[in-house]
Amino acid sequence: MSILLNNKSVSDEIREKNNSKHNYKIVFSVLSIIFIYMYFFTQIYQVIGIQSPEKIFKNFYSIEKNIILDDDGNLSSLLEITYANNIKYNNDSERLVFFVILALTFLASYFSKVKYKRIFIVIGTLLVFFILFKWNNVLMFLSMHLILYILFHNKNEKTKYISFLPGGMIFLAFFTNLSTNITFLQIIYSILTSIFFWLYYKFLILKLLDDKKIANILRTIFIQLTMITIIVSLIINSIYGYKWIIPVGIFYFFIQWQRLILYHIEYKDGLIPLDLSLLNYSIVFFNPATVVNCVDGYNIGSGYKYINNNYLVEDKNKIIFSGVKILTLALFYLVLYYFFTNTIKILLEYFLGVPIFLSLEDLLKVHLKGKYLHTSTVLFSTLINQIEWFFLFGGLVHFKVGIWRIFGFQLNSYFDKPWLATNLMAFWTRYSFYFREFLVRAFYYPVFLNFFKKNQKLRIFVATFASTCIGNYTWGHIPEIILVRGLETKNLVYALPRWPYFFLLGLGVSLTQIYLLNKKTKRKPWTKDRRFILDFFYAYLTIQFFSLIHIFARPTRSSSLWDHFTLFLIGLGIHL
């Protein structure tokens, strides 16, 4: 939390100064790392006629299964572009399109003046969107944001002109096929819809927005449209069996709901200028980083103030180079995760003499068959499974942060060596910085500042539990699962049994908070003194607890809560 508070915005003059020096070595390093990504994650090796990543890997390591490789010789990873549930593209081609536009957008942004940089970033994002998802989805995505903008920034003089756009865009997006042809009549209809929407906005919505209470209700409804859509769709699905397949343009808007909620919070707290320009608004939501695997780490750089305050705060080359470094680290994570976890697995099996499973599903299958599992098997299988996830998730979010940085945004890392955390509270911060930030601002503060003020321990416990358990479960994972898997009740049924994971996580973090409340120490973890060895022990305990409770986070159709519970108990050394 403190990290997000500590930045102050710099003036445009300072930004211009920070942007003035071009360094061709930096440009080369960015293009090089993008090219290396292209090599590993696309089929460009065929175009330029060099060895495939698969061949190179097989020179070093025997890969029995196609775990990290596609069936076409390059890497399969979380660097997916399409995750919407109604569209299928070849992911290699998508990545290629993405990397090419990323490189071009970087070049345009790097060599331009500050006032044009953001324009290029927004255009680059829309270009990726356009090539991958076509015009209709671009218009859907844009119109949703334009409506949001005119609802929030009605004080901006230009809003009256901008309000002319969404109506026609919605008509074109939903009622025409822009990829093939568009008729003259459709153009007339779209103009008429624009005029109708403009009149509607000018003579009704603007009047309503003058009333603070009504304005707040309207804005809240629009911000919470994701949750409202999910609830309504699930009700309709349960009654009529109808399943709404969300168009990609709308899906991408919905999946940003945490970013939207934070925007609303900042708006209500007076942290966003009422007359904010459309371009400065856009930069919060339009960045090439938000297009890559929109499901994981989509809340990176949340909020307007944080993004604005971290834009070109120092020499751009320094920020960009930090981006190259984190992109390189991400590459190591994404490429080497299997080698690392598999090596640990082999070593553990050799020294402990018990089987270790890389997959929790495999571990559960053995348990369901009634076979004996040693406590070490459960402990280290869950641990290795989590380490593998650290690599994959860390790689993906580092990649996204790297993209933000090469455009001049000095954003914090989402994932900051969680294995160094010596308690659950620190772990929570290191593991998912931006998500935690969302939970703190949306759940922790409202509870902490309004309830149980006379009992400090209870106050902290309830506020922490509200954010790490309830907020995390209801406003974090459930909407995400349903959005990604589809608006069907069966997906709600799939998501709900995970509650013990969130309960145990919430309980663990909350109790840690209470413990820390009474603890006064001058010592920082990992100080090289006689307690240094204890830091290893606490770090292991922290990660092991987090890993073990993941037994509840992977429910399957064939397993019951009792099955997961008994497996969890085996991890604690209790065989029922």
Partner: protein, 81 residues
Amino acid sequence: MNIDEIKNKIKSFLINEMPNNDFELNDSTDLLNEWFLDSFGIINTIMFLETEFSISVSRSEINGDNFANLNSISVYILNKL
């Protein structure tokens, strides 16, 4: 209560409750970067401020301007009293 009294109370709290050997605490020490080890530092400070000065902190007031250093917290408190 004047600003110096407020400052002394907060300073005493920070030194005793959140000791930090790495930095010297003065009026302009960057609390967010140099003093609070984690987010809990701010939460603890808010609880202290609410109890000690009988004020109520709102979400919008928890920001980098108010909690930047000893001086800014003291000015913030003085304005609330």
